[in-house]
């Protein structure tokens, strides 16, 4: 009874194989091109009324949808072709207007009974589906500096109220430096400011130069960074939602980076404009004629660089206080942006405008951008450096007609499209700290399809070659190995689907590589069986010994490879990680199928028979 498995072992193996088949199934149902409609705000309901309007507009344009579902988050309209989908998206967007987000999507077709078991297909990566990948970096020094600027303002007020005279309060070298006018007031000032600024700062007194230095503690700096990342994440998510993308990914990566992936987006330039234009607004009064030049600044206009205006340095309020913005039309049917400020912003605005009716107020549009400069270093190598710069332009300069409150409008923001883009940026909120693009990848949808086709083709060809070879070389044992190989692929796909792994091109390459290497264990076993038989063992003993002795070798060899795959996973990002996941899972499943599944087949077919010679 050398080559028999106990019943429980057989049942366990069969159960695992059944699991593999069921959970890999959803990948075989092809997806429908679809359009997803959801409310722009969570309060907007997408109900029967919207559905009727959609059906009407589609019918009017001779597009027949395959099905319309209520997906819980909104409506999902499925189509028979990509062309229908694209055309319908435009039509539905026009029909429903700004209150709804209309996004292209791929709708899965997994049957309900599979869904109920938690089975779902693998997600396709951007390289297979088309879309945009952005890597953004948050400018941390700028975030810290912003915080220090606020503290500087606070320090000035506190000192003034405590009647302590200071010469200068400036932000320098990542710290707040306060030069006091009188040496004897130094300790008083330090006490007052320590109390006001709290325990986020450590203070230092330099008697000789009469300077107080407040620097942020390590913990406080980390907190500011975390906050900057979080606020940027929220803002980016809002903006991505405004763009109308079906399954966007906005995720922190490392200490100061954010990954944004937008599958299916075609117009990357628009996406980038909305995401990347880390715009903010500043509301400032225009300078009075003859004002002290130290207190004014000149800026040019956004639509006409030759025109400029002089503004006061003092800022009334910024885009941070903007709570909503929308596009409207004025009496002359020109586009305008309606702005609503929050409580604090409204108070500041009314304070500033109350006594300045008749003066002009400017809205300054601030964009953070990067410029890449190529310089040549001492060794003659070309070095690329990223130089962040800030562009400030006036987008409107208008006379204050009356005291402004928390709700007012800006006219002269350009065309309807420009006005709506500006309002979109304002509505989605201002960014806490500037962000810069450090990486961008765009894959066109046709390239994605090409990658899928080629990937599948090479898997098929590779698989057929290996199967034929094993069959020719090992005959009956080749059949066992091939069945094992088939289940290996099934289990691998099932595990990847269940884990929610994203299939990428390197992932497919990992599957192909696994296929080649998966037969290794069987080759080892079969070679060992032959060898033991050659040394004079009976066929049954040889089979038994072959599996036993090859096991240690297989374990050692696979564990070391697994070790390398895990290292690959821990250091890699994006595609390399995908490859490592596939490779590691492949190693595990191939060990199972090569050792257990083939053995089970051997036991079933040969276990009860008398063998005079090895069938290989």
């Amino acid at each position: 009874m050398l080559n028999r498995y106990p019943l429980w072992k057989n049942l366990l193996i069969l159960a695992i194989l059944a699991f593999g088949v069921i959970y890999s199934l959803p990948n075989f149902y092809s997806e429908d091109p679809a359009v997803q409609i959801s409310g722009a705000r969570s309060s907007t309901e997408v109900g029967a009324q919207a559905e009727t309007r959609i059906q009407a507009v589609l019918q009017a344009n001779n597009i027949t949808p395959k099905r319309i579902d209520d997906s819980g988050k909104g409506l999902l309209v499925r189509f028979n072709s990509d062309q229908d989908q694209r055309a319908a998206k435009e039509l539905i967007q026009q029909q429903l207007g700004q209150d709804y987000v209309v996004a292209l999507n791929l709708a899965e077709n997994t049957p309900k009974w599979l869904k109920d078991m938690g089975a779902k297909p693998m997600k396709l990566g951007l390289d297979l589906r088309g879309g945009v990948h952005f890597l953004l970096e948050v400018d941390m020094p700028a975030a810290v500096k912003q915080r220090l600027e606020v503290a500087a303002g606070q320090a000035r007020t506190e000192l003034r109220q405590a009647r302590l005279r200071y010469r200068q309060v400036i932000v320098e070298n990542g710290a707040l430096n306060i030069r006091m006018a009188r040496a004897e007031q130094m300790s008083d000032a330090a006490r007052v400011l320590s109390k006001a600024l709290g325990n986020e700062y450590t203070s230092e007194i330099d008697e000789d130069s009469g300077t107080l230095t407040f620097s942020l503690t390590e913990v406080a700096t980390r907190e500011i960074e975390n906050y900057a990342i979080k606020q940027n994440l929220t803002t980016l998510r809002n903006r991505v939602n405004e763009l109308g993308v079906a399954e966007p990914l906005v995720q922190r990566q490392g200490r100061n980076r954010i990954v944004v992936e937008l599958p299916g987006v075609q117009d990357t330039a628009a996406a980038k404009r909305v995401l990347g234009a880390t715009a903010n607004l500043e509301f400032r009064l225009a300078a009075k004629p003859g004002a002290n030049p130290m207190e004014t600044e000149s800026f040019s206009f956004r639509d006409n660089p030759n025109r400029s205006a002089t503004l006061e340095r003092d800022i009334i309020t910024t885009g941070n206080n903007v709570s909503s913005a929308s596009v409207g039309f004025d009496e002359n049917n020109q586009p305008q942006v309606n702005i609503r400020l929050d409580g604090q912003g409204g108070r500041l605005m009314s304070q500033a405008t109350r006594h300045n009716v008749g003066r002009q107020m400017a809205v300054l549009f601030i964009e953070h951008k990067t410029r890449t400069r190529i310089t040549t270093n001492a060794k003659g190598e070309k070095m690329e450096s990223r130089v962040p710069y800030t562009e400030r332009n006036i987008i409107s300069l208008a006379t204050i007609q009356s005291e402004l409150g928390s709700s007012f409008r800006i006219t002269g923001a350009g065309t309807v499209q420009e006005a709506s883009e500006l309002s979109l940026l304002l509505r989605a909120g201002a960014l806490a700290a500037p962000i810069y693009f450090v990486e961008e990848r765009t894959i066109g949808p046709s390239l994605g399809q090409k990658n899928i086709d080629q990937g599948i083709l090479s898997v098929e060809i590779g698989l057929v070659a290996v199967v034929l070879f094993m069959l020719a070389w090992y005959r009956l044992f080749g059949i066992f190995a091939n069945i094992g190989l088939f289940f290996n692929l099934t289990l691998l796909v099932a595990l990847m689907s269940l884990m929610g792994a994203t299939l990428t091109l390197p992932g497919i390459a990992g599957i192909v590589l696994t296929l080649g290497m998966a037969v290794d264990a069987n080759v080892l076993i079969n070679a060992r069986i032959k060898e033991e038989h050659h040394r004079g063992m009976s066929p049954h003993s040889a089979i038994h010994a072959g599996y036993e002795r090859a096991f240690a070798t297989i374990l050692d060899a696979n564990l070391t490879t697994l070790l390398v795959a895990l290292i690959l996973f821990s250091i890699g990002t994006g595609p390399v990680k995908g490859f490592a996941v596939t490779l590691s899972l492949g190693i595990l499943t191939s060990m199972f199928t090569a050792l257990m599944v083939t053995r089970m087949q051997v036991n079933w077919t040969l276990g009860r028979r008398k063998l005079t010679r090895l069938p290989m």
Binding site: T268, S446, N451, F469, G516, A552, V564, I567, L568, I571
Partner: protein, 307 residues
């Protein structure tokens, strides 16, 4: 075909030739790596890449001229896969829609040109990746060395790591010598080769360990030679099946994983050679003796800390 062929080739007898060949390859590789480095792809250098598809095969010179006229400097224009696919690499900084801009410039000559892919990588990201890749390779080698030292013996660990280093250096050497694009997928391939080649080496070492423990006749050279012969059919068959799928990937997998497949093909070729000729030879050089393989004698069992 199913006959058991017990080969008895004298691999160890030719070890001086193999050693000379390996040394030559490693020296050439290192020389090329020092002299002209690797031709790092966009992932590592940073920069901008635009891939376009034409309806009819364009003339590359015309594309290059047109872009230079439009003010793009320092550009590389080449075919990517088919005659109709063109890849443009720019070193200049990135503006919001350089992909579209390049397409629009080229569409002045031929209207039917489509943007397939546009990539921009900051130089800083590239530098980090280089560092990570290098660290990854070293960590992988160190991890392997520890594991093998633990499961086998330190001479095996040294032998395994040296033969891995041999494979990696030659693989990188080929990429450097022929100035093939070394991008992120190739890095993944190099790490996969480390895994694969290690797998091969471990199988041979496993047999060497077994033979050193079980067989009484023959010196170290004979036993190593016997072990290599015993595992030879497995080594070649596995390499063959893996190479079959890789060739399929190389021929049909598309341009984006061309170099990935190529790196694996080279790596597995070199890895197979090294597990036959290099890994065993190294053990001899490290003076592996039968007593290195003796199971630990239990004399320490009495004084294992108990009074």
């Amino acid at each position: 075909m199913s006959k058991l062929i017990q080969l008895n080739l004298d691999f160890m007898g030719k070890r001086r030739w193999a050693f000379a060949l390996s040394l030559l390859l490693v020296v050439i590789s290192l020389g090329s790596l020092v002299a002209q480095q690797l031709k790092f792809g966009l992932d590592f250098t940073g920069g901008t890449l635009v891939e376009l598809t034409y309806e009819q095969a364009p003339s590359l010179d015309q594309v290059r001229n047109r872009l230079e006229q439009a003010g793009y400097e320092d550009i590389v224009v080449q075919h990517f896969g088919t005659e109709r696919d063109v890849m443009v690499r720019l070193n200049q900084g990135f503006t919001a829609d350089v992909g579209q801009e390049v397409r629009d410039v080229l569409a002045q000559d031929t209207p039917n040109v489509h943007l397939q892919r546009a990539e921009f990588v900051g130089s800083q990201v590239g530098d980090e990746l280089k560092e990570q890749g290098g660290i990854g390779m070293l960590v992988a080698l160190a991890g392997v060395m520890l594991y093998v030292a633990f499961r086998f013996q330190y001479k095996f660990a040294l032998g395994a790591v040296l033969s891995l280093a041999h494979d990696v250096i030659i693989l990188l050497g080929v990429f450097s010598l022929f100035q093939l694009d070394f991008d992120l997928t190739v890095l993944a391939a190099v790490l996969a080769v480390i895994g694969y080649s290690l797998n091969d080496t471990i199988v041979v070492y496993d047999r060497i360990r077994e033979n050193f423990r079980m067989t009484r006749e023959g010196g170290p050279a004979d036993l190593i030679n016997l072990s290599i012969n015993q595992t030879l059919s497995r080594t070649t068959i596995t390499s063959l099946t893996t190479l079959m799928v890789l060739v399929a990937l190389f021929l049909f997998g598309g341009e984006m994983i061309h170099n990935f497949a190529l790196a694996l093909i080279i790596g597995i070729g070199v890895g197979t050679y090294s597990s036959i000729y290099v890994a065993g030879t190294l053990l001899l050089r490290l003076n592996l003796q039968r007593q290195d393989m003796m199971l630990p004698v239990k004399e320490g069992a009495e004084d294992d800390g108990r009074p």
